[in-house]
């Protein structure tokens, strides 16, 4: 291997499985078990990124989700942008490139921003780019922003899935604390789910050289999983991030590599009785001059590369720390044969136990790195006393820094549980839980192995109600630290947020300009608002603000932790809900027949997919609609009315119940008869119109409009259950128990006769608004004489299992009479000709029954019904009413639906609008309906439609009914 940074032995990589990959077009080789980051380091690639604003050279800083510097874009089948290189598992053929640099990583034109950096401090764009306007600057700025390009195609194969999960205890994190907790609750018989974000379980143990119970810690991990996986009450999800913590202990877990090979990713929505966050801790960086140069890395990341991946990220290392944990890193580096020049420790007193594990390595107590030197790769660092003074230059190609540890409290905080600032650890720790949640291990501030194991066991035992198990012996270096928020003697740009290029100077500028709240600082400087959401840098920002303002850390406070913990692909959230199942859809049994006829189908309320019209060759919407309308007006048509909401009501009190729900009186209906009615809300607004039929003394059928069926069902149940629980009424939804073919037109009775029925069809025996049960075409049927077209109609209801047969027989029996199927468009025309109202057209939430000329539907007899009082109050007001009228365009032309009416057609406040305008096949001209101020008194007048652009169309105002005003046809 070219650069030879791979150690001769060790690590959890499989050296027998080499993998080929490219980065920025150049070919490299790594091993199974590598991440892209470890493989790049193994190949000696140090410059891996350019920064967002100044385009400074950057390298790999971390080893996990905290990575702030190296984001890559993956290409090919894996195409996705903005992936931290540290979280991309290496696969054969992987192709990656650095984001945010042009034309190339080594020669990046945007780097000129470095020269201008003095003039583009935090928030500079608020102060400039104003002349002549923002648009001049916006396009190039948008291009410069935005990191990676978005994938241009959806995944070519596989799909995403979302599913539900349930458990007694969900454990986030399979490190030492999480595993110990899982073992404890699983042995107690609870249903356990353990989810870990890594490719491999073990958490920090993967990167450290530790023993548990006298053997290698990873052997303990393997043994623990062997026991857990043998238990039926344990679900283990690896490569699975718990990223969202919702109300009522509902959590989101996304698996990136589910066992089912059809699945790209799978999201579990888990309802957990209790949650244990064993999410570990993230190391924070230190803030000194040029702390962003390639070769400056988190100490824990260096440790991971050496121990887990068998990679030496440098040949000569300096350690800079304020705590003990970096001493173990120094020891591990030395053991791997890397020269450790010195450990600069900002503490004046270095604990003996730390000194003891780094024999032979120079320890510079009370010293800080003030500056990293070198541009594309560090060459040396300057070390000086904390208080200043002359610096010593140490040549090195690796600086491992450790600013202490931040427990990963993201999930804890998302659950609304509180945090407290802990002085000894100089960090925010879990405090009061707001939901059934516990924190364990490093996530709870237990920063040594033995403590972490104990903390996991204790949290779990408390939930299970058992005594904690014995903790195996697990020696570890005790943890101690002294906070160092920034090196005050730093030289050069000292970065707090590498991803958004936020420096200490930026924070100071924000404070100087009055942006003093930490939320202002964050927004003005954009610190902590990058892809990494400030996982390594936020606390240093808070520390810098606290120092500058002379406040305590908890007075400054944290910014809010919000989901997701790490970014999640939208595909994994949407799951299978895509394409045809993106929204529910409903079919009647004759959908296939409609499609076979070439019907133009679309959704028309309540998720029903229905035929709009049935075009024949060469016909458009208008021609087909005219033909269907003519069939109904002059011959016969048939309409599938199945989607109408239908309810069977039973009981002694149905009559008075309906009297309360409808504005007119229903209780006086005789068996076999029906009535049209309006249902109002108590606000006096029209909720629905429908028809009630009384079958016998105690059984009724209520039908509602298609679109409101579910809402009316809820409304009826609410009134019954909450207002009149003592009333004897039962409501059963029978919408799908009855399908219907509505045969309508002057020849409808002849078609009925041809179908064959035992019902007497004569108008005397079977008048309008009555219902009869019998057989039609040999099928058990309920026939209702209602009409939504103004023509003689028979609504033939049968069970859906018979609907196809009925339809075929209707078409057959109707053929000699020229029967045609009728779609929604023709139905619309027919009801407009007739002046029948339609919810959503004439009823738009502003009109009442009187406005619609239906004052007869507002019962005067009933002392109370829903909406009565509200309508009275509203009508007593002074506001002018818009009333339903017919309109005849003069000259004869179509008026767009919704076109406003204004006084004289002038450009001023409207006095109404045209609700519908259709080609009338009986008048052979355009006719319409409108809501017009004072319209009832304006019949015969001319009103004016004003179109966009100023065109004015005069319309003659008429009564709303354009056809058969006396209703002779529908009663015939």
């Amino acid at each position: 291997m070219a650069a030879g940074n791979r150690l001769a032995a060790g690590g959890r990589i499989d050296r027998s499985k080499p993998l080929h990959f490219t980065f920025n077009g150049k070919a490299y080789t790594g091993f199974q078990g590598d991440t892209l980051a470890s493989a790049l380091l193994a190949n000696g690639v140090r410059l891996t990124a350019r920064s967002f604003k100044y385009h400074r050279p950057r390298g790999i800083v971390g080893a996990g989700v905290e990575e702030p510097a190296t984001l890559v874009e993956l290409m090919g089948d894996d195409a996705s942008g903005n992936r931290p290189a540290t979280t991309v598992p290496l696969t054969e053929g992987l192709a990656a490139k650095a984001v945010n640099c042009w034309p190339s990583l080594a020669f990046d034109i945007g780097a000129v921003n470095q020269l201008a950096s003095r003039f583009i401090p935090a928030g500079f764009y608020y102060k400039t780019f104003k002349w002549p306007n923002w648009h001049l600057y916006e396009r190039p700025i948008r291009k410069a922003a935005g990191l990676a390009a978005a994938p241009s195609e959806p995944p070519s194969k596989g799909h995403y899935e979302t599913r539900y999960g349930h458990c007694d205890v969900l454990i986030a994190g399979a490190g030492p604390a999480g595993l110990m907790a899982a073992l404890t609750v699983a042995r107690a018989g609870l249903r356990v789910m353990i989810a870990d974000e890594g490719c491999e379980a073990g958490g920090s143990l993967l990167s450290r050289r530790l023993t548990i119970g006298g053997t290698d810690a990873m052997e303990w991990v393997d043994a623990t999983f062997a026991e857990l996986n043998a238990m039926p009450n344990v679900t283990h999800l690896q490569n699975a991030t718990v990223w969202g913590y919702r109300e009522h202990n509902y959590l989101m877990v996304t698996e990136r590599a589910p066992a089912n090979p059809s699945l790209l990713e799978r999201t579990w929505r888990v309802r957990a009785g209790h949650v244990i966050t064993a999410t570990g801790a993230i190391e924070r960086g230190l803030v000194f001059g040029n702390n962003d140069r390639p070769g400056v890395m988190l100490a824990s990341a260096v440790q991971a590369y050496v121990n887990r991946y068998g990679v030496a990220p440098g040949k000569r290392a300096v350690i800079f720390t304020n705590n003990n944990s970096a001493y173990a890193v120094a020891a591990d580096l030395a053991a791997a044969g890397v020269e450790v020049r010195a450990i600069a420790d900002s503490r004046d007193a270095v604990p003996d136990e730390a000194r003891a594990i780094v024999p032979g390595i120079e320890i510079m107590a009370g010293k800080c790195v003030t500056e990293a030197q070198g541009t594309r790769q560090i060459r040396s660092v300057a070390v000086a006393a904390k208080t200043g003074g002359s610096a010593r230059i140490l040549s090195c190609d690796l600086l491992a820094m450790s600013g202490g540890w931040n427990p990963t409290v993201h999930l804890w905080s998302q659950s609304r549980s509180t945090l407290r600032y802990d002085d000894p650890l100089a960090t925010f720790l879990p405090d009061t839980p707001a939901q059934p949640i516990s924190a364990a291990g490093a996530a709870n501030g237990a920063l040594t192995l033995q403590d972490a194991l104990r903390s996991g066991a204790e949290a779990a035992a408390q939930i299970a109600g058992t005594t904690p198990p014995d903790i195996p012996d697990a020696p570890d270096l005790p943890y101690a630290m002294e906070p160092l928020w920034r090196v005050e003697t730093a030289k050069g740009k000292a970065f707090l947020d590498l991803q958004n290029d936020v420096t200490v100077d930026d924070i100071h500028l924000a404070l100087r300009e009055g942006y003093s709240n930490v939320e202002h600082v964050k927004r003005y400087t954009t610190g902590g608002m990058g892809f990494d959401q400030g996982k390594t840098g936020n606390i240093n920002i808070i520390g810098t603000v606290a120092l500058a303002q002379g406040l305590a850390m908890d007075q400054v406070g944290t910014t809010t932790f919000r989901a997701p913990y790490t970014p999640v692909s939208f595909g994994a959230i949407g799951g299978l809900r895509e394409e045809t199942v993106a929204l529910p859809y409903r079919h009647t049994p004759i959908t296939e027949w409609n499609l076979a006829q070439g019907a133009f189908m679309y959704e028309a309320g309540a998720r029903w997919r229905r035929p709009g019209y049935f075009p024949r060759a060469g016909e458009g919407l208008q021609e087909a609609t005219n033909r269907e309308c003519r069939a109904v007006r002059f011959g016969v048509g048939v309409y599938d009315g199945s989607p109408l909401g239908t309810f069977e009501l039973k009981g002694r009190d149905v009559g008075r119940f309906l009297d309360y729900l409808y504005s007119n009186v229903m209780s006086s209906l005789k068996p076999g008869n029906g009535r049209y009615g309006l249902m109002l809300s108590d606000d006096g607004l029209i909720m629905d119109d429908g028809v009630c039929f009384r079958l016998d003394d105690h059984r009724w059928i209520v039908s509602t409009s298609t679109g409101h069926a579910d809402a009316i069902n809820g409304h009826m149940e609410e009134m019954l259950q909450t207002r009149f629980p003592e009333w004897n009424v039962f409501i059963t939804t029978v919408t799908s128990q009855w399908n219907n073919a509505t045969i309508c037109g002057p020849k409808a009775r002849e078609v009925m006769a041809a179908l064959g029925t035992d019902i007497d069809l004569s108008p005397e025996a079977f008048p309008f608004m009555t219902v009869r049960d019998g057989t039609v075409a040999g099928l058990p049927a309920r026939v209702v004489r209602v009409s939504f077209t103004g023509e003689l109609s028979f609504e033939v209801n049968v069970a859906p299992r018979h609907m196809r047969a009925l339809w075929a027989k209707v078409m057959e029996a109707g053929a000699p009479f020229g029967i045609l199927p009728v779609g929604s468009e023709a139905s619309h025309v027919l009801r407009v000709e007739k002046g029948f109202l339609s919810l959503g057209h004439e009823v738009d939430g502003t009109v009442d029954a009187y406005d619609l000329g239906m004052g007869w539907a507002m019962s005067k007899k009933k002392s109370d019904y829903l909406g009565k009082r509200a309508v009275q109050i509203r009508r007593e007001g002074a506001a002018p009413r818009r009333e339903l009228v017919g309109v005849i365009p003069e000259p004869d032309r179509q008026i767009p639906e919704g076109a406003p009416l204004t006084p004289g057609g002038r450009r001023e406040k409207t006095e109404g609008f045209v609700t519908a305008c259709v080609w009338s096949v009986v008048h052979e001209r355009w006719v319409g309906l409108a809501l017009l101020e004072g319209g009832h008194a304006r019949h015969g007048e001319t009103a004016h439609v004003r179109l966009k652009g100023g065109e004015v169309i005069p319309v003659r105002v008429t009564a709303p009914c354009h056809y058969d005003p006396d209703g002779d046809k529908l009663r015939s």
Binding site: E247, R269, D710, T722, R869, A870
Partner: protein, 85 residues
Amino acid sequence: MMQIPCPFCGPRNESEFSFGGPVKPPRPDPSAVSDEDWTAWLTQVPNPLGPVQEQWWHVRGCGTWLTIWRDTRTHDIVEAPDGGR
């Protein structure tokens, strides 16, 4: 996604329910109240920063209209403020 206790079915996912609004005082007799009281009853609902009593319809379950007290700050389902229920 809350978990709502249904008196018939036990705790169920919020997605099985349809929100039915906060519980208002009983509907006054419309013929016995002033216009002002009537419109106030119609248009005003309790909007507390804290527990609110509200109705949910278990539309995808047993069909029950039920009442819960829910804290609008946290979405926790709580006992009634007076400790009843």
